[in-house]
Subunit: 276 residues, 2 copies
Amino acid sequence: MTIEKVLVVGTGLIGTSVALALRETDVEVHLSDVDAEAADLARELGAGREWTGGEVDLAVIAVPPHLVGERLAELQKQEVARVYTDVASVKAEPIADAERLGCDLVSYVPGHPLAGRERSGPAAARADLFSGRPWALCPGSGTGADAVRLVRELVSLCGAKAVTVAADEHDSAVALVSHAPHVVASAVAASLAGGGDVALSLSGQGLRDVTRIAAGNPVLWQRILAGNAVAVAGLLDRIADELAAAASALRSGDLAEVADLLWRGVEGHSRIPANR
Amino acid sequence: MTIEKVLVVGTGLIGTSVALALRETDVEVHLSDVDAEAADLARELGAGREWTGGEVDLAVIAVPPHLVGERLAELQKQEVARVYTDVASVKAEPIADAERLGCDLVSYVPGHPLAGRERSGPAAARADLFSGRPWALCPGSGTGADAVRLVRELVSLCGAKAVTVAADEHDSAVALVSHAPHVVASAVAASLAGGGDVALSLSGQGLRDVTRIAAGNPVLWQRILAGNAVAVAGLLDRIADELAAAASALRSGDLAEVADLLWRGVEGHSRIPANR
């Protein structure tokens, strides 16, 4: 079994980028979106053709996390594809939804490409969005081996590196490396609202970097955070405690405690793969 | 009065970068550092010649914030320069030190170029470090107009843009746009210390950007933060409160409150000049 025909369901940033990446190969790409304008725009960008029915090898469900289960159930009922995957940023929630809705779990391989941009929608899509990026796959005990092989082929066609990880471990991991940092970046950016123009005129690259991801789409991000709420909340509490402790140490002149946080920051920073 | 001869006192990242920038003009640059190795390296990098005495037009004091006042007093006692400036990241503390030590405030123009790198020391210096960057000048009521003119000429020779601002306002501003964000980046980076290798393998550009400045030199940064402790502590407390509130909202499923923070983040992000 190999990928010849793919249906991308949801032509936002990620779905359209998958479609564009596949269009640089021999794969036939079909597109659908409940938002006809988004689907039209993706087609105009050369991401594929309109979906008019017929079976495909693989359906890529690129909709917000809380809609994945529902969409999977509909597509499986219509027998649209032999294998299904999704690209949602959380994994336990869509899998639980799929189970609850009685989906066939043999043909469903939960997935999550670790790539994104601050802009959303098809116009922001890029064929090389996944190039060299990790792409998490979270097959369960009941997932079919053929289905996993096909989705690994998708990952490879998109230029990404498959990382197999249990759904719960995935969700804890992205809470740490993506979701909690997003909320923290938003809190730093929100603190600027009260700053004067002179203060903002003194801002530099450091501030721009710390707050860059805070420009992300709040409508999408509230859904992502809600789908990973407990793990993210635990991390935010820990970071809030660190900051409150640092504030207290600064007020009392306890430089050793401030330095300890800074040194742990240097150490944690060095653990990020590209910084090693 | 124009700049013909400059002494750079302290050949770390900032001092050596100032020297390298001036070396691309007609200015004669002399270097000194209590660390002979750092001074030698800066000379080898072409930043200027060894300081052996004689009066200069301008002394640029590029030492840690808590040493500026002391160094200024020594240099003025030796009548080394007609005009003095410093480059420390906080301004109220060095000015208070200078007053306390009986320095001549007419010839001293407190300054702060808003530029930096994660690496420190002369080897990290670059002639274009200040190009297009703001450079805060904080003259007081007693600062001489000629001295201010000369230091504005230095800023211009380094390719930076002078921003005149009161010392207290400067310190509040950099707490907001630089110092508090630095501590927050350190706290996010420190949270990674407990993460597994799989979790870290899923990290992406967003995390790298949020934590980039956390790689900065803790020895230097603890001094900067200590010199601006009250303003930084106030901001850290506010950000800690935001994060704790977000954690609580996530746990109770209050998506509207989470969305409110994300939207305020988008708004604050858009206030940063280069993001407009």
